[in-house]
Homo-oligomer: 272 residues x 2
Amino acid sequence: MALRSRSPAASITIWGRNPEQLQEILNSNLADTVETDPVTAVRDADLVIFCTPVGSMEQLATTIAPHLAPQTLVTDVGSVKACVAKKLTPLLGDRFVGGHPMAGSERSGLAAARSDLFDGAPCILTPSGTTLPESLEILTSFWHSLGAQVTTMSPLEHDRLVARLSHLPHALAFALVNLISETLPEDAPLLAGGSFRDGTRVAASDPALWTGILTENRHEVIAALREMSDLLGSLAENLEEEDNDAVLDVLTRAREQRVRLPLPNHHLPSDD
Amino acid sequence: MALRSRSPAASITIWGRNPEQLQEILNSNLADTVETDPVTAVRDADLVIFCTPVGSMEQLATTIAPHLAPQTLVTDVGSVKACVAKKLTPLLGDRFVGGHPMAGSERSGLAAARSDLFDGAPCILTPSGTTLPESLEILTSFWHSLGAQVTTMSPLEHDRLVARLSHLPHALAFALVNLISETLPEDAPLLAGGSFRDGTRVAASDPALWTGILTENRHEVIAALREMSDLLGSLAENLEEEDNDAVLDVLTRAREQRVRLPLPNHHLPSDD
């Protein structure tokens, strides 16, 4: 939808498995052609973008690899990068450069689509040491054209970062909802204020998709969960010891950081 | 501001310590009179509302108690209730009924005030066993008149509930910001998406106020922090054991609860 509105001349093919949804896409004029066969879909493409769960990408890459034109670049929008690079680079070579546009929401499907989704949103590209500069330039221009702000780093740096900036906040949201429903009366959430509502918004995200993300980034997510547990345990200890100065110090440091954080100021219900 | 716009006939006196801020209030026509002396401020009042940090209420109650008219009801808007009742009931008797309107935001001061703040927001009143029904009725009508939805429960039930619905989400927000600033490069938060932004919004709340809240509700907050640590530890274990079904179960339960939660639908940046 973003590409359509910003680059009307681009020829767009969408691959999918569900013919009804593909028909909807055609009806909405969001693609020039739709395909249920991935091999036909990628024929002569300049750019192929994997928008499937990370777990499906290896199979898809195996299927299309022998049929790609020489100029075709392949990227993806998966939320983890090291395991994707590890699986796809042997199949696709340097024509593959991973990407992660950090936009979206807990909603999914065509009804949740919006053409301004990437406006001001960060997009991380994860080239390897052997990625051609031209390939990186093409991908950077592509994301710029959709309004995103592009940063590059290694797949491992990416995974370490998003484990803490995105995967941990999601895990906290899921855990907080479960804690509430296990420990409080059923109608208690009626009394929740904004901190609970905002802190758990992303707990409405697709469980299968997020199980994939958390398990694919297992190593860094476990580390982040343990770091968080330690901080909560230390705060509990401060409270137990009635060390109010230590509590105030924790909160003061957090507030100082939070108000000066260079957070992207796109007021969408955007996400990771 | 809410009372002024909904009950223009009500006579409002605001007590404060800062004469410049009191003058601003008068200039904005938000009060009929302003006072720096609490004893003068409460003279002949029908209703006195403590809007100070919880830690200041005992001293204020001691000061005004001998000067209250027979009809005067006293309530408060503090975020914890058991310790407030314990301190104020001996000083004020049954004319005191605690309250907690669950609205507000991480912002403070006159510039952050809004007359629709309480629209649809929950407000918990915590009568004692000896509170007169008339007193509870008056307070309930007062909060209804500002648009709030009133619930009553015991001070202890309140504290158990808000420890998990509000204090824990705040603690998570403070801890998450500290975790990020301790473990990631300084410019990393530029890459944060909505889950981090929303999950840490309330980390910008006033540290002194929240140190008061967390320490005053110490017992229940410690319990909630430990419950959360356990859930995070258990998720880390599931990931470590590559038990994807267990991870999926955690996320699926959370999503089911989150989407069917009877969360108040007031789309303000409202809080607790």
